[in-house]
């Protein structure tokens, strides 16, 4: 039975290996057009969320859209450079709670769903964003 478990783990590891290809996540997602669509949907999700919207009360939304899209492009290894401020500079002072962070990720997932991003690509993109969490929680 231990053997079965080890074999399943091995099979899973193999599966993970097979799925990797040479194209970047940026290309897999569908390039800048798809990233812009996600960001647009995300802004709509925030607009309709009473918990997250107040954080953006004084925000220049056009700037946010531009910088956030740039950042997603960089996370997905696209041909962009991020010209915005650091995550600490931007989110410091907001005292973002763990619950609100996770809620924002939920909204981001909704935004990706509405842009028809396949589940595996959603996970890959999220996995490249999560390192920012410790740069903004409770700061």
């Amino acid at each position: 039975m231990v053997k079965q478990l080890v074999m399943t783990a091995a099979a899973i590891a193999l599966l993970g290996g097979c799925a990797s290809s040479s194209s970047t996540l940026y290309e897999e997602l569908g390039g800048q057009a798809k990233i812009n669509e996600i960001v647009e949907n995300f802004v709509h999700e925030i607009e309709y969320n009473n918990t997250i919207l107040p954080y953006f009360a004084d925000t220049d939304i056009d700037r946010f859209i531009q910088k956030f899209a740039e950042q997603l492009c960089v996370f997905a290894e696209g041909p962009c450079t991020y010209s915005g401020d650091t995550m600490e500079q931007v989110h410091g002072g907001m005292n973002i709670s763990e619950a609100d962070f996770n809620l924002t990720v939920d909204l981001f997932i909704n935004a990706m769903n509405k842009a028809n991003i396949p589940h595996p690509l959603q996970n890959k993109l999220i996995s490249r964003m999560t390192h920012t969490r410790k740069q903004m929680l409770y700061l």
Binding site: T8, S97, E98, H119
Partner: protein, 278 residues
């Protein structure tokens, strides 16, 4: 009775202070294992049972049935999870001897503390330590098979991690638990016995893949002691879980529990429904 009192009092104490928990990502709160702890199906995990984050609390209830060839285990349980830090649980076991006739009941009280990390976001796995106090009510059969005690405490340390997009883009979850125990068949056949009455370290593991935000599948393995000399086997199961919302989850598993009290090859369906009440 005790069960409702526990939930009731905890809810009353905390209802004024914190919001209900929905601060975790769907599917990441896990399920409720047989002994009442947040976990997989048969293995306690480092994750706490509810969707509460650091500023929230949650209360959960579940019902599980395992239908084996000669036995049926019914479990009714509840737990509260406080600020994603502490989990308190209670589970009631009614073990029907469907072939021989009769029933064995026991209650398990559990506590778990998250020591480190976040199952998704921290670099290292989430780590929790826990204990389960087991109080066997129907002690006759445990006495008959030579068990030393009718109450016992298990201690465990669990590590759980979700790897985002790790399996071809799908999220992988694994858990490894080390348990110090004297329990025979969860404690239903008492604690300790003629072959051994000391604590032994048992390893338990789970591995699963989340195929979407609502479906997961995987398997679990739980090592068991053989204190009674009746050839108690390790347990394993293969499961699929459906999580339509943060409020409810359904699990269907195929469990192979091996030899129980001399009746070999005990296999069957494991069904569980759990929900977040608060």
């Amino acid at each position: 009775m005790r069960l409702t009192t526990l939930i009731g009092s905890v809810l009353i104490v905390y209802s004024g202070i914190a919001c209900a928990g929905d601060g975790k990502l769907i599917g990441t709160a896990g399920l409720n294992q047989l002994e009442g702890a947040g976990g997989g199906g048969i293995v306690p995990w480092a994750t706490l049972s509810g969707y509460d984050s650091q500023d929230q609390i949650s209360a959960n209830a579940f019902i599980t049935q395992v239908n084996l060839d000669d036995y049926r285990l019914n479990v009714l349980g509840a737990n509260v999870s406080l600020y994603d830090r502490v989990e308190l649980s209670v589970a009631r076991h009614a073990f029907d001897l469907t072939t021989l006739g009769g029933e064995i009941a026991q209650t398990v009280y559990g506590a778990k503390v998250r020591l480190y990390g976040d199952v998704i976001y921290s670099d290292w796995p989430q780590i929790s330590a826990g204990m389960q106090y087991k109080d066997l009510e129907d002690t006759a059969i445990a006495g008959l098979v030579g068990a030393k005690d009718t109450t016992g405490i298990d201690y465990f340390l669990a590590a759980t991690k979700v790897h985002l997009g790790a399996v071809g883009g799908y999220n992988l979850v694994w858990n490894l638990t080390g348990r110090l125990t004297k329990a025979n068949q969860l404690g239903l056949l008492g604690f300790g016995g003629p072959d051994n009455s000391d604590y032994e370290l048992m390893l338990e593991g789970s591995i699963g893949v989340l195929f979407s935000r609502h479906f997961a599948a995987g398997m679990e393995y739980r090592q068991k002691p053989d204190n009674l000399g009746l050839g108690e086997d390790d347990w394993m199961d293969v499961f699929v879980t459906y999580i339509p919302s943060k409020n409810v989850n359904f699990t269907l598993a195929w469990a192979d529990l091996g030899s129980i009290a001399g009746a070999t090859g005990q296999k069957g369906l494991y069904l569980s429904v759990g929900g977040q009440l608060w």
